[in-house]
């Protein structure tokens, strides 16, 4: 498709905009499905405009494209995902989950959201599945054309601008594409290029496994790209930097492009319904100087946490690592196993804490009102183990501390007293009955402490 265009094998039209034909008297444009793909690959059928406005001749940049609004369509398209990409000193990591959901039903548990475009660029897609698939094909075609015409790869920022310009005519319609372009802009010498092509050849061929949906076709196309790059290198021995980017620094890049027209560059980008959870993990663990293993672990952890909390993300994790030598794919990993491993780890931790509690029985308790509670019902927090608490006890602890600090600052205490915060149970979400009792106990403690704080406050306001 791309090669025949650049060789002028068939007549081509230069602009690939969808509105190249004038509307007929019915008020909508279309092309019969029987015409061959001589020019742009897509001509769209637009339904007649719903409201009786005068017909404007649509131009490339106008947004009067009418289409069926989503509530008129009797079906929903797939949405909902977690994808992320970030750069660090040794390249770019792109990770995504593999769930494609459609209004409550999982259409496909093993979809592939990270698609390689060429040897040094992958795109993480999210939004509507069909739009992402087709626009990625169009982007691949345009980038291949660019590479054939200009003898160098387009940079990540250039690809982002290209995609943004191609999507712009569709602003206002319900095309929903949110793509993260992750790649390495290269300024490569002949030696690194040759070695990188060979290495990328080997690793991408072996690593792109058959589990991916269009696995064989994609692997074949990437192989073709690599072979062409190789051929270009060998044929241009004299030119210095064959595949360098124009005037820019080389290095890792991530770029976000959205069908609304938004374009962002950054160091960490995460997209989708699970992105808040992924951002939380990434912001916590990201450093520029991470090693590859740390980065891979961080990406995996971020997607795992996001799939845990977000209903629309799940199933497996796909991970790609792009360096100056090309992109390498990690095997797809089923997160169900990881979840069970995590539960085992939590069980181990609870056992350890039980042991430590039994050792430290009989230490000092909280003085004051709280001493009335039977000490056997409380488990003391052991300060040495760093416990990863998930929900309510953490929140309560924080609240109690804040409240007490407030009162302390008023000077209301006549005598100094210490407070040890007691943790009761660690996994309130587990649903076991004993933990439920402990949860109720904790709320009672909280109520008592709040009452105590109120009493103190009243004492400061109306000192007796």
């Amino acid at each position: 498709m791309a090669l025949q265009d650049v060789c002028d094998f068939l007549e081509t039209l230069d602009d690939s905009s969808p509105c190249t034909s004038l509307p007929n008297e019915m008020g909508y444009m279309w092309r019969t499905p029987f015409e061959l793909d001589r020019d742009s690959p897509f001509h769209f059928l637009f339904p007649p405009q719903q409201n009786s406005r005068k017909h404007k001749t649509p131009t490339v940049l106008s947004s009067t494209l009418s289409c069926l609004s989503p509530h008129q369509q009797p079906f929903q398209l797939s949405h909902g995902t977690t994808t992320l990409g970030f750069i660090f000193q040794d390249g770019v990591i792109a990770a995504a989950d593999t769930r494609a959901s459609c209004k409550g039903l999982i259409c496909c548990p093993i979809s592939q959201k990270i698609m390689p475009i060429h040897s040094h660029l992958v795109v993480n897609t999210s939004g509507s599945g069909a739009d992402c698939m087709l626009w990625e094909r169009i982007l691949t075609r345009e980038m291949r054309l660019y590479q054939l015409r200009h003898r160098r790869r387009l940079s990540v920022n250039g690809a982002a601008k290209l995609l943004s310009m191609m999507l712009h005519p569709f602003k206002g319609t319900n095309v929903c594409v949110a793509a993260t372009l992750c790649g390495w802009d290269g300024e490569e010498t002949q030696e690194t290029l040759r070695s990188s092509v060979e290495m990328a050849d080997v690793t991408t061929v072996s690593a792109i496994s058959d589990e991916s949906a269009l696995g064989s076709e994609k692997a074949a196309s990437v192989n073709e790209l690599l072979k062409d790059a190789h051929a270009l290198t060998l044929s241009d021995q004299n030119t210095k930097d064959v595949l360098s980017t124009f005037g820019g620094r080389s290095g890792p890049r991530v770029c976000y492009v959205c069908s609304d027209g938004l374009q962002l560059k950054g160091e960490i980008i995460s997209v989708g319904s699970g992105s808040p959870y992924a951002y939380a993990v990434l912001d916590d663990g990201w450093r520029w100087g991470m090693t590859v293993d740390e980065a891979v672990g961080l990406a995996r952890e971020a997607v795992f946490r996001a799939t845990h909390w977000d209903a629309y993300s799940g199933n497996n994790v796909d991970l790609f690592h792009i360096t100056a030598h090309g992109c390498r794919r990690r095997d797809r990993e089923d997160l169900k196993e990881e979840y069970y491993r995590e539960r085992e780890r939590e069980k181990e931790k609870i056992k350890e804490r039980e042991k430590e509690r039994q050792k430290r029985e009989g230490d000092e308790l909280v003085e004051g009102e709280v001493s009335g509670i039977n000490k056997n019902e409380l488990k003391k927090e052991s300060p040495s183990t760093s416990i990863h608490h998930k929900r309510t006890p953490h929140g309560f602890r924080g609240l109690i501390k804040c409240g007490l600090r407030e009162i302390g600052s008023n000077g209301a205490f006549k005598s100094s007293w210490e407070v040890r915060i007691y943790e009761v149970g660690s996994r309130v979400y587990d649903g076991r009955s004993e933990l439920k009792e402990n949860y109720e106990l904790l709320t009672r403690i909280y109520d008592i402490v709040v009452a105590f704080m109120c009493v103190q406050l009243v004492n400061t306001i109306f000192p007796t």
């Binding site: 029987f34 897509f42 637009f46 009418s66 369509q73 079906f75 039903l105 496909c108």
Partner: protein, 237 residues
């Protein structure tokens, strides 16, 4: 007894009628029901569909199968809006003929899938309301199933259910063919006889619980010898 004075001249009750603007909408779509299923094996593929055509509370026909033979190695199953199913299959058949005349060979299953994806996306803004599943043999003779959404996103699978009872059938297939959520089980490859029996059982279950599925089941079995059809009766109520 309601006296006739309560009614105004237009026949509506005076106290309780609405005289504001009313929106009447013409929807270009209708939902005609039906379920389609495809399974790919080592050297065979199955495409099965029920034969009921319904709309709302009525049944238009009890003998309207949803599998259409495209080439000697490919069958497509389309469910959703019957009008769009018919047009889409006509378009696909015409494009197949065009390809055959210009390239002197039939289209492979993978090529048909890619072409269907572009046909469907060409109508991105006024989609064909059809859930398609293509079943056939690929170039190496292995079974292939391609499942689509109404706007052209597609995926190669080993089994897929589409249509009105798809949400009921897909988990059962995940368990029986994909061996998901089963532990300590020997994962034998699927034989043709076992697959046909499984498909029959699965449709009988679907007909029990889905009102749009029933009447009869048509199975197209694609092997390198050709395409064989089987008709199995289902519940008619």
């Amino acid at each position: 007894m309601i006296s006739s004075q309560a009614y105004g001249g237009s026949g509506k009750m005076k106290e309780y009628h609405y005289s504001g603007p009313v929106e009447h909408k013409f929807s270009p779509y209708a939902f005609n029901g039906g379920t389609v299923l495809a399974v790919a094996g080592e050297d065979f593929a199955l495409v099965a569909s029920d034969t009921r055509l319904s709309e709302g509370y009525s049944i238009h026909s009890r003998d309207s199968p949803k599998c259409y033979k495209l080439t000697d190695t490919t069958v497509i199953g389309c469910s959703g809006f019957h009008g769009d199913c018919l047009t889409l299959t006509k378009i696909i058949e015409a494009r197949l003929k065009m390809y055959k005349h210009s390239n002197n060979k039939s289209m492979t299953s993978g090529a048909i899938a890619a072409m269907l994806s572009t046909i469907l996306y060409g109508r991105r803004f006024f989609p064909y309301y059809v859930y398609n599943i293509i079943g056939g043999l690929d170039e190496e003779g292995r079974g292939a199933v391609y499942s689509f959404d109404p706007v052209g996103s597609y995926q190669r699978d080993s089994y897929k259910a589409g249509g009105s009872a798809s949400a009921m059938l897909q988990p059962l297939l995940d368990n029986q063919i994909g061996f998901k959520n089963m532990e300590n089980v020997e994962q034998l490859p699927l034989t043709l006889e076992k697959a046909v029996q499984l498909v029959k059982d699965v449709f009988i279950s679907a007909a029990e619980r889905d009102v749009y599925t029933g009447d009869a089941l048509k199975i197209c079995i694609i092997t390198k010898e050709g395409i064989r059809e089987e008709l199995v009766p289902l519940r008619k109520d």
